[in-house]
Amino acid sequence: MSASISPQILPSEAETRLEVQPLPLDRLQQMYRTMFLIRRVEESLLQAAEEGKIGGAMHTAIGMEANAVGAAHATRPDDYVTCTYRGHHHALARGMDPGQAIAEVMGRATGFAKGKGGSMHFVDPEHGLMGANGVVAAQVPHAAGMALAAQLRGEDRVALTFFGDGALYQGVMHETFNMAAKWKLPIVFYLENNRYSEMTPIWRTSSVEALYRFPRAYGIESMQIDGNDVEVVYTAVAQAVERARAGEGPTFIEALTYRLAGHMAGDLETYRTEEEKALQRQHEPLMVLRNKLLERGARPEELEAIQAQVEEEVQAAVAFAEESPWPDIAQAYTDVFYL
C-alpha cells in the first residue's frame, strides 16, 4: 500500500492500476500544447512576481499540469469546475485566454474579473470554471451545490472539484462528502496530492497514510492514480464523470502529483531538499508526456514547433497584460451588488 503522504513516493507508484486506453496522437499533442502553455504562463508569472509586477500571494502549479489538462479533456464545457487558489492551470486547461489571465493577476482592467479577483480567484463561467477559492476547501461544497442544482433540474451536468491534500482536514470537506454521498450528487472529488499543505509536508500533520481511504467511510468510490500522466488522469476522470452522469453518485480521485515550484512566489522552500525535487523531476508531467509522444511516433521537430508557437503566444499575452490599463478608481465600488 502506498503511503501517499510521503514526498518520496513518485506519482507513478500510485495504488490504483487503471486500464488506460491510449489516446490518439493528435489529442495527446493538443494536451502537450496546453500543458506547455500552462508551464510557460506560470514561469512568466513567477518572473513577473520577482520583478515586482505582481502583489500579494500567487501560487503556481508547475509540475501539476497533467491533472488540469487530463480532467479538462474528460469533461464537457458545460460541466462545472471549482478549484483552489492554485488554479491557473485549471483555467488555462479549460480555455481561458492567457492574456486575460495574466492581466488579472497583474490587476489590470482587462483581466477576466477587471483586476478585482487576482491570482487566487480565477473564474471563467463560459468554460465552466465557476471559481477558484482563497480559503482551503471552501470551493468543495460549492461544487456540491452545483451538482445539486443539476440534479434538481434533471440535467446531466457534472461538477468537478479540485482540492489539495491540506483540504482533507477541513470540516466542510467531510460535511460535503456526507451530503454528496447521501444525495448521490453528480460530483467528482479530485485531490491533487502534491504532498505539501502550504509549507508543511502532509506527513507531519496527517493521521491517515493513504488519503484516498478517507471518503470510503462515507461510501464514496475512490482511487489513487498517477496525476502526472495525462492519459491516466483522463481515464480516471472520464470514468468518474460517467458514473456521475449515470446517477451513481460521487467518485473520489486521489491523484499523486508534485509541486515543483514553491507554495507561492517568494517561498523559501526550506522544508524540502534538492534531492527530493530531483527525484520527483524524473516523473514530471511534461517529460512523461513528451517521452510518450516520442515513443508513439511524434517527431521531435513537431514538439519543438508546438513549443515555439506557445512561447510566442505567452510572450504576446504578457505584453498584452503589461500594456493593459489599470482599472478606473470608480470600479472599486461596482460589483458589490448585482443590479
Binding site: D328, A330, Y333, T334, Y338
Partner: protein, 514 residues
Amino acid sequence: MAIEVRVPDLGEGVEDATISRWRVAEGDPVQAGDVLLELATDKVDTEIPAPADGTVLKILRAEGELVAPGEVLALLGDPDEEVPSPAAPTPQEAPAPPGQETPVPEPTPPSPPRAEVKATPVARRIAQEAGISLDEIQGTGPGGQITKGDVLRHLEGRGAQPSAPSEPVQGLPDEFADVASLPVRRAAADFNVDLRAVAGDRPLSSLTRHDVLAYAARHKGLDHLPTAPRYPGPQEVEPPSARAVPTVHRPAQEPTSAATPAPERLPGPEEEDEILVPHTRMRRLVAENTARSAFTAPHVTTMWDVDMRAVLAHRKAHKEAFARRGVHLTLTAYLVKALVAGVRAVPAANATWTEEGIRIKRRVHVGLAVALPPDEYGLGGLIVPVIRDADELSLEGIARRVNDLAHRARTHQLKAQELQGGTITLTNYGTSGSRFQTPILVQPQVAILGVGTVEKRPVVISQGHPLEPNPGDALAFVPMTTLALSYDHRVLDGATADAFCRAVKEALEHWEGE
C-alpha cells in the same frame, strides 16, 4: 529696585517674537551682557542680554510664548530683594500707518502692533477687518492670547459678521479632486453605480450622496430611492439656540425640563494643527492671474547668458552723476532699456493673441514685477506697476520711474491705473539671488523677461575658431547674468524668441550711449 528686562524693538514691521529658549533660571546670578534668552521672529533670531549685573528674580514669560516689543520678560535685582509685581508693559511707540492715497490691489495694511494685547495674527486680522478692538476680547489661548475663535465668538455675541471667514473654503486641492466622500462611495457600492458615469466630466469629489441615489433611481429602476434630500440643508436650518424647545409635561415627581443648551464650541482645526490665513485681495489676484495664465498660454522659456561687463562699467562711470540728480541707477533700468531693444527687433513680443489675429502694440509699456515683503508665514505679495512708453524714455527717465514705482509699490501708494496697460514685463528675481526661474506671463501679454543674479563666472575668451582649440584661448572671470524669456508659443516660436533675446543681449553687452 528690580530691573525689568523687556523685549527690544525688533525692527520695522516685526510685531511679535517667540521665546525659543531661556538660558538662565530664576535665582541665577548674571552679569551685564550675559545672554538671558533667545527670541525668534519671522525675520531674525536674536539673543537678549542682561541690561545690568544682578540675580534673575523672576521669569515672567515662558518658552514658546508670543511676546511683543516692550513687554517685560524678567526681573533682575539683588538676591534677597522682594519681587515687585511687574509694571504694566509699556507699549512701544507705534509707527504711523503709511498714507493711503488710492485703492490698489493690496489689502488694508496691518494695523499698528498692539503690544499690550496678545493675539494671533489671524485674530488680529479678523478683528481689524471687522472693525473691533482687541481690548474688548477675552483671550483663551496660551497666556491669555486672543485666538481666532475668541474673535469669532465675540463677533457672534455682537451679531456682527467677520468678512474674511464668511467666505467658504473653495473645495480641496486638485490632488484630491477624485476623492469621493464616504457617503458617496457607500451609495455607489450599495447600488452598483459607476461613479464616473454619475460624475461625467466633474471630479468625483464634487458628487453628493443624492447624485448617486438619483442615478441609481434612474438607471437601475430603483424608484423608491430619493433623488434629492427631503430635509433642509445646512443653510436652511436655524441655529440651535433659536429653535423652540419642545414642551414636556411631567408629573410632579419628574425633574423639570431644561432648555437645550447650545452645543459647546469646539476649537476649529486652525486653532489646533493648522492656521487658516484668509485670502488677501492681492493673494487672490495673484492666484487667479497666474493660474489663468498658466492654463491659457502655452509657456516656453528660453535662457540666454549675458556678459554684463559693459553695463557694469557704464553704471560705475555714471552712478554718481545720476545720484547727484537724485536718481539711484539700478541694473533694472538697463534691463528695461535692453528689453525695449528686444521689442524693436521683434515687435511680436510686444503683442496680444486674439482670435481675430495677433495684435502688435505700437506703444511699449513695460511692467515691472515688484515683490512685497512677506508676512510671518512667508506669504509675500507681487505687484506689477507699469512704465508707460518705455521706448521713449532715456536711461535716466527709466531709472527715475523704476525708483519711484518700486518705492511706492512697497509702501502701498500706487494708483490703480499705474498697474494697468502693460504690454511686456520684466521680472528681476536676481535681486533675491536666483540664477533663473521660468516666469509666468502676465495676461494678455506674450513675453516676460526674467533676469537672474549677476555673478562672476568662468568664461572662455577665444580669439580664433569658436569650437576648435586655439593657442590664445583663456579663462576669464566675467560678471554674467542669465536671462530667461518666457513666451506664449501661440505667438512666438523658439527662433523668434531667441531673436528677441539676441537683441537684448547685444544691447547689454555692447552698451553705448548716455
